[in-house]
C-alpha cells in the first residue's frame, strides 16, 4: 500500500487542530456575542416593563394605566426597533396594548421577570413581569406587564460580532496554511533532493549520494543509502573480479583443448570413421564455443563502469576504427561465405572513448551479422553522421530478426534461432559499451529483408 505524501500528512496534521480550534472559537464567539446582545436587550426590556408597571394604578374596578397616547406612540412607533407591549390583569386578560404577544412559557413569582423568545407573530424577545397590586380601597389583583421586541436587531448584532471575529480568524488560518506549507516544503527539501538523486540514477550508478547541509535525520537516511550502495559496489567489484580471474584461468586449458581437438579432427579420416569424426567435431565445436564465451565474459567484465574509467579515454577516429575493424573481419566473413564491405561517408569524425571497447563492440556486431545472415549474404558497415550523432550501422540482407526478439536480443544469454557458436553475450556487451560512451545500440529491420544493428555515438 502506498502511504500518503509526507507533505500532505504534515499539512493535514498541522492544520486539522487549527481548523477544529477555529470552529470552536467561532462557535464560542457567537454564543458569547448572543449572550451579551441578549443581556443588553433584556436590560432595556426590563427597564421598559418596570416603567410601564409604574404607570399602572389599581382602582376599585380593576386597574388604570396612566399611559398618555404620546408615550404609547414612543413605545410602539420606532420602525427600526418596534416594541410591543401589553398589560393584562389578571394575567391573560388584556387591558391595554397588543394582544399578539404570546404568554410567557412559565410563570414566576411577582416582581421577578421572565425573559423568553417567541416565534409569533415574528421572532421576538419578550419579558413578562407579574406584579401584585394592593392599594387601600381597591381589590387585590395580579398584574402582568409584557414588553416584546423584534429579535432581528439582536440577531443582526450577534451575527456582526461573529463576522467580526471569524473573518480575521479565517484570514489568519489561510495565512497560516500558506506559512505552514512553505515551512514543510523548506523542511523537507533535503528529502526532495535525496529523491531527485535516487530517481535520476542509472541502475548501475553506485556513487554515493551527495547531500550538503542536510539535517541529521536525512543525513542518517542518506548515510544508510550510501552504505548500501557501497556494499553493492563492492559486491559487484568482487563479482567482476571473479569473472575476470576465472575467465583468465580458463583460457589456457581451453586453448589446449581446442588445439587438441583440432589435431584429432585432422588425424581422423572422416570417410573411414564418420561417427568418430562427427563426435570429435562436436567436441571441437563445444571447445570453440566455450573459448568464445570466456572471451565474452572477460569483455563484459571490462565494460563495468570502474573498469571503463580505468582504461584509456582518448579521441577515436571513427573512419579509421570502422576501416580497421571491418578489414580485420573480412577474412572471417569470407570463410563464412559472406561479402563484407564498408561504406564510410563521414570522414574526420571522432568520438571520445576507449578504442579497445569500441573495437570490441563493432567486432561483435559484424560477427553477429555474419553468423545470422549466413553464407551468401552481404554485410555492410556504414559510418554516417546523422544530425548530432554518429551512426555506425552493420547492415545485412539475411533473413532478419523476429521483432519480438529485437529488444530481448540485448539481454544476456538470449540467443537467436541459428545461434551456432554464439554464446548470447555479444549484444549485451555492445549495449554496455555503447552506453558507457553515452550512446546506444539498437536493432532494426532492413528493407527488403535483413537486419541493421546501429551504434549511435556522440561525436566530439
Amino acid at each position: 500500500m502506498n502511504g500518503r505524501s509526507l507533505h500532505r500528512q504534515l499539512l493535514l496534521w498541522l492544520l486539522l487542530p487549527q481548523i477544529v480550534l477555529w470552529g470552536v472559537a467561532a462557535f464560542g464567539a457567537y454564543q458569547l456575542a448572543s449572550r451579551h446582545a441578549d443581556e443588553l436587550v433584556d436590560a432595556s426590556l426590563l427597564q421598559a416593563a418596570r416603567a410601564l408597571a409604574r404607570q399602572v394604578k389599581p382602582t376599585a374596578s380593576g386597574v388604570f394605566v396612566d399611559l398618555p397616547p404620546s408615550a404609547q406612540d414612543i413605545l410602539a412607533a420606532d420602525p427600526e426597533d418596534r416594541a410591543m407591549y401589553s398589560v393584562s390583569s389578571p394575567p391573560g386578560q388584556l387591558r391595554l396594548g397588543d394582544a399578539r404577544i404570546p404568554p410567557p412559557p412559565r410563570s414566576a413569582p411577582p416582581g421577578e421577570p421572565v425573559f423568553y423568545d417567541a416565534a409569533e407573530p415574528e421572532p421576538l424577545r419578550a419579558v413578562a413581569l407579574d406584579l401584585h397590586l394592593s392599594a387601600p380601597g381597591a381589590m387585590d389583583s395580579t398584574l402582568r406587564v409584557q414588553i416584546a421586541r423584534s429579535s432581528a436587531p439582536r440577531d443582526l448584532l450577534a451575527r456582526r460580532m461573529l463576522l467580526d471575529t471569524a473573518l480575521p480568524l479565517s484570514l489568519l488560518i489561510a495565512l497560516m496554511t500558506m506559512g505552514v506549507w512553505a515551512g514543510i516544503r523548506r523542511g523537507l527539501k533535503p528529502l526532495a533532493e535525496l529523491q531527485q538523486q535516487m530517481e535520476g540514477r542509472r541502475a548501475d550508478a553506485l556513487d554515493p549520494v551527495q547531500l550538503q547541509a542536510a539535517p541529521p535525520e536525512v543525513r542518517a537516511l542518506a548515510g544508510a543509502v550510501n552504505e548500501l550502495l557501497g556494499q553493492v559496489q563492492q559486491n559487484l567489484d568482487t563479482q567482476r573480479r571473479f569473472i575476470s580471474d576465472a575467465a583468465h584461468q580458463l583460457r589456457t586449458p581451453l586453448a589446449g583443448l581446442k588445439s587438441q581437438t583440432e589435431l584429432a579432427l585432422a588425424a581422423v579420416d572422416a570417410a573411414a570413421d564418420p561417427a568418430l569424426h562427427q563426435r570429435l567435431a562436436r567436441v571441437h565445436e563445444s571447445a570453440v564455443r566455450s573459448a568464445r564465451l570466456v572471451s565474452q565474459l572477460l569483455a563484459l567484465a571490462r565494460t563495468g563502469p570502474d573498469a571503463v574509467a580505468a582504461q584509456g579515454w582518448a579521441p577515436v577516429d571513427c573512419a579509421r576504427l570502422v576501416q580497421d575493424v571491418t578489414a580485420e573481419c573480412v577474412p572471417r566473413a569470407l570463410a563464412a561465405g559472406c561479402d563484407l564491405g564498408a561504406d564510410i561517408s563521414a570522414a574526420a569524425v571522432s568520438v571520445q572513448g576507449v578504442e579497445l571497447l569500441l573495437r570490441e563492440a563493432l567486432v561483435n556486431l559484424i560477427d553477429n551479422a555474419v553468423r545470422y545472415a549466413g553464407a551468401g549474404a552481404t554485410v555492410t558497415v556504414r559510418l554516417r553522421r546523422a544530425g548530432d550523432d554518429v551512426w555506425i550501422d552493420v547492415e545485412d540482407n539475411g533473413p532478419g530478426l523476429d521483432p519480438a526478439l529485437r529488444e530481448r536480443a540485448f539481454e544476456r544469454f538470449v540467443r537467436g534461432a541459428a545461434a551456432g557458436e554464439g554464446c548470447g553475450l555479444g549484444l549485451a556487451i555492445v549495449r554496455e559499451i555503447a552506453e558507457r560512451h553515452g550512446g546506444l545500440a539498437q536493432l532494426m529491420s532492413a528493407a527488403p529483408h535483413g537486419c541493421i544493428a546501429r551504434l549511435t555515438l556522440p561525436p566530439i
Binding site: 583468465h248 589456457t252 581451453l254 587438441q260 583440432e262 573459448a291 572477460l298 571491418t326 573480412v330 564498408a342
Partner: protein, 218 residues
C-alpha cells in the same frame, strides 16, 4: 625453421608442437621460464613463441632478459591476459607480436610467417600456387612463364602477396606507391587481375575498403 615454444600447459604445448611440426617447424619445447631463458640465450632459433604466464620466471622477464642479451629473433607472445596495458607491456618489453588465448592455429601460423618474412624479407623467393615472386630481382613468373610488370604493378603485387588473405587498403597501396593515385588504382588492379590469370590466385575487391589476394575459385 627452428622454433622455441615456451608454454607451461602440457595439453596446449603438446597440440601446438604437433601442429607446428605439420607446418614444417622444428620445435623445441620449454615448460618453464628458466628453461626458456636458457635455451633462448644458448641456442639459435629463427623464432619463438613465449607464454607470459610461465612458472619460475614469468614470460615478460624472460623477454626483457633475452632482449637484454642482444637476441633479436622475432618473438610472438601468447597471453591469457588481453587488457590493453598487458599488451602494451609485452610490446614494450620487446615482443614483435602477441596473440590472445584461445586462438586458431591458422592465425598463429600466419602471424609466425609474417614475422619471419619481416625478419628476413630480402632473401625470399616466394612461391604461392603457380606464382613465384623473386623479390631480389623484382620478377614474377606464373608456372615458369615470366610476367611483365611495371614498377607500380610489382609493388602492388608484392603488397598483396605479403598480406595475402588480408585486406590491403587503398591507403596502404598509396603508401607503398609513395603517391596518392586513387583514380588510377582500379586500372592497375584490372591489369594485375588479367596478368594473374592461371596463377591460381585472384584479387578480390572488398567494398569500401580495398583489395585482398586469395586463392582463385577452381
Amino acid at each position: 625453421m627452428n622454433l622455441l615454444l615456451a608454454e607451461d600447459d602440457a595439453l596446449l604445448a603438446d597440440a601446438l608442437q604437433q601442429q607446428l611440426l605439420s607446418a614444417s617447424f622444428k620445435v623445441e619445447w620449454a615448460e618453464n621460464g628458466a628453461v626458456a631463458e636458457y635455451l633462448l640465450k644458448k641456442q639459435d632459433f629463427d623464432i619463438a613463441i613465449l607464454d607470459l604466464g610461465l612458472p619460475m620466471v614469468d614470460g615478460l622477464t624472460v623477454l626483457k632478459r633475452v632482449r637484454g642479451a642482444g637476441r633479436t629473433l622475432p618473438i610472438l607472445v601468447l597471453t591469457a591476459l588481453d587488457a590493453l596495458e598487458h599488451r602494451v607491456a609485452g610490446l614494450q618489453a620487446g615482443a614483435d607480436d602477441y596473440l590472445v588465448k584461445p586462438f586458431d592455429f591458422p592465425e598463429l601460423e600466419a602471424r609466425l610467417h609474417a614475422l619471419l618474412r619481416r625478419s628476413r624479407p630480402a632473401s625470399l623467393t616466394q612461391q604461392l600456387r603457380q606464382l613465384t615472386l623473386d623479390r631480389a630481382a623484382h620478377r614474377a613468373s606464373i608456372a615458369g612463364q615470366p610476367v611483365e610488370l611495371s614498377p607500380r604493378e610489382w609493388t602492388l603485387l608484392d603488397l598483396l602477396v605479403s598480406e595475402r588473405d588480408r585486406v590491403v587498403t587503398k591507403a596502404q597501396i598509396a603508401d607503398a606507391w609513395g603517391s596518392d593515385d586513387g583514380a588510377s588504382l582500379e586500372v592497375y588492379i584490372h591489369r594485375l587481375r588479367r596478368k594473374l590469370d592461371g596463377s591460381g590466385l585472384a584479387v578480390r575487391t572488398v567494398r569500401g575498403l580495398g583489395y585482398l589476394l586469395e586463392a582463385a575459385a577452381s
